[in-house]
């Protein structure tokens, strides 16, 4: 399963300050630490970035100077996205846009996806609010897949995201997300790729139990075939490796966690 390192987010004070000052040091240090812990891709969350259209370009370049991995470009800012995509080095894989949805305001993202031949996260929400269950998520996913086809985007470039909700407030949604991961894969042959923003499940919970919720939720999702998770690699790598062992995807050895 692909781990997309989530730590480079404008929400974190240290990262935000480094972004504002264009200070490469902390950005590269965090990117490297995530890569070494097992991230196969680095998320760069710059927020809406209004008036800072050059920020994504700087982030992509800064990250890829430090780690040989593709970047997940996380913003709703069309112009910033395009500038980032232009400088992305595809040697280690295609960039991933985070994200489009079923909201017409997010359709232009598909133009960029097609134009730069990159991957895109398709969040299964529309304009009308949060999806109620797995079936609604799958229906939205199918609609978005149809639209992506019109733009000429291959199905294997799409990661369907069921939108993880908070266990603390909408407890019944956790299992619906798990079901959605299973249903999404059946929408195409070969199966559709799937992704979640994992830590959302424990949003609003006390810090000391957050990782427990995240890791156990991830186990359920991987079992159903999850392809990727936006998460903290240091936190989840043990779970990912252990589930790989239990699902017989990696050969067991006493030191499997060290590999």
């Amino acid at each position: 399963m692909l781990i997309i390192g989530e730590k480079l987010s404008i929400i974190a004070k240290r990262v935000r300050e480094a972004m504002m000052k264009r200070d490469k040091g902390p950005i590269q240090e965090i990117a490297k630490a995530q890569f070494e812990k097992g991230a196969g891709m680095i998320d760069a969350n710059i927020g809406p970035a209004e008036g800072m259209e050059d920020l994504m370009e700087w982030m992509v370049t800064t990250i890829q100077e430090a780690v040989p991995a593709p970047v997940c470009l996380d913003t709703t800012n069309y112009e910033a996205l395009e500038k980032g995509l232009k400088v992305h080095n595809n040697e280690w894989g295609r960039p991933l846009i985070n994200s489009t949805s079923n909201d017409p305001e997010r359709f232009p993202i598909l133009e960029l996806t097609a134009k730069y031949n990159c991957d895109v996260i398709a969040l299964t929400v529309g304009k009308g609010g949060l999806p109620a269950d797995a079936e609604e998520r799958a229906a939205i996913a199918a609609e978005m897949m149809g639209r992506a086809t019109e733009y000429g985007i291959p199905m294997e470039h799409i990661y369907l995201d069921p939108l993880v909700l908070q266990a603390a407030t909408t407890q019944d949604q956790a299992l619906k997300v798990v079901e959605a991961i299973k249903m999404f894969q059946d929408l195409n042959d070969p199966p559709m790729k799937t992704v979640v923003g994992l830590s959302n499940v424990s949003n609003g919970c006390p810090k000391h139990i957050r990782h427990i919720l995240n890791e156990h939720f991830l186990t359920l999702l991987i079992y159903e075939g999850l392809s990727a998770a936006i998460a903290d690699p240091a936190e989840i790598i043990t779970t990912v490796k252990t589930v790989d062992i239990l699902m017989n995807k990696t050969l067991y050895a006493h030191s499997y966690l060290e590999m």
């Binding site: 995807k249 990696t250 050969l251 067991y252 050895a253 006493h254 030191s255 060290e258 590999m259």
Partner: protein
């Protein structure tokens, strides 16, 4: 529409490992497909057969195989040269059997002297094996690795009880290393991890999952080898992508099937052919399971296996 046979392709690949140096160096491994599946990918190197040479005259070998080396087996230098010059051996495995505490207990210094003489006499790659006494081997193989410096030999066998010392010696003197575990794929992987954690290059290791003769647990060796290859190829497991050794001869030439004469057991057929066939059959099975390096004893068995490899390549 013409029928296109389906092809299985893999994400992983076996490391290419080169033994020895100069013109006589040989390379094993490098394939990205199951054994002899050249039609699905690349199989750049033939499996290699090394001839077994002991540092002491083999008193317990059955006549069928002892007779072949009758004039040379009193001296490992003559023996090794005979294998290279007369039997066209591509590699030699020198087994320092006499260092075993129960078989002469020769010192590490004496063994090193033998290694040096053999190396001076041949230019094909040399596999240097201890007596399979973990404690004594640690001592013997350290000295042997030292005198063999510069020849890119294969040192073995490192096992759980002595791997730190043996691997350090092989690393210090730029040799390859055989990592042996006892018919357990998980322990085989674990040993490889521990050896690489010492700083040993994982691409200079050869896996010995422990051999066995046909009729004496060959299916255990077969399945462990096969699963190692599948982990390497289909799961792209970097800790299992080393070439595999089949130490065939020593396991075959001690069983009753190769030494019981036809006078006693007429139904079993001619003893000599039976023994040669037994070694060849065991080796052929292990090639199919994924072995890339074999250590064999009878030249007729080796020739049969070599012809088999040619057929399948």
């Amino acid at each position: 529409m013409a029928f296109t046979p389906p092809k299985e392709t893999n994400t992983g690949k076996v490391y290419s490992v080169t033994m020895g140096n100069g013109e006589k160096a040989v390379t094993v491994g490098g394939e990205n497909v199951l054994p002899f599946h050249g039609f699905e990918g690349v199989v750049p190197n033939r499996p290699v057969i090394a001839f077994d040479v002991l540092d002491i005259a083999p008193v317990d070998w059955p006549d069928t195989v002892r007779e072949v080396y009758a004039g040379v087996s009193d001296d490992p230098v003559k023996w090794a040269k005979y294998c290279v010059e007369k039997l066209n051996a591509k590699a030699v495995a020198l087994r320092l059997a006499s260092t075993h505490p129960d078989n002469g207990n020769r010192s590490a210094a004496e063994a090193a002297e033998t290694v040096k003489k053999v190396l001076d006499a041949i230019s094909v790659p040399l596999i240097i094996l201890g007596s399979n006494h973990a404690e004594k081997d640690a001592d013997v193989l350290v000295r042997a690795a030292e005198v063999a410096k510069g020849r890119n030999c294969v040192i073995g066998k490192a096992q759980e009880a002595n791997y730190k010392t043996v691997a350090a010696a092989a690393m210090a003197h730029d040799h390859l290393l055989i990592a042996m575990s006892e018919l357990d794929i998980n322990l085989s992987k674990q040993l490889n991890i521990m050896i690489t954690q010492l700083g040993f290059n994982k691409e200079k290791v050869i896996i010995d999952p422990m051999c066995s003769a046909l009729g004496y647990g060959l299916e255990y060796t077969y399945t462990v080898m096969e699963r190692i290859r599948l982990a390497a190829l289909t799961q792209n497991d970097a800790t299992m992508q080393q070439p595999i050794l089949g130490d065939v001869g020593m396991y075959v030439w001690k069983i009753k099937e190769v030494s019981a004469s036809e006078d006693i057991l007429p139904a079993w057929g001619a003893m000599k052919e039976r023994g040669i066939g037994w070694e060849a059959q065991t080796a052929a099975a292990l090639l199919m399971a994924g072995a890339g390096l074999l250590i064999m004893r009878h030249p007729d068995a080796a020739a049969a296996v070599d012809a088999f490899i040619t057929e399948l390549m």
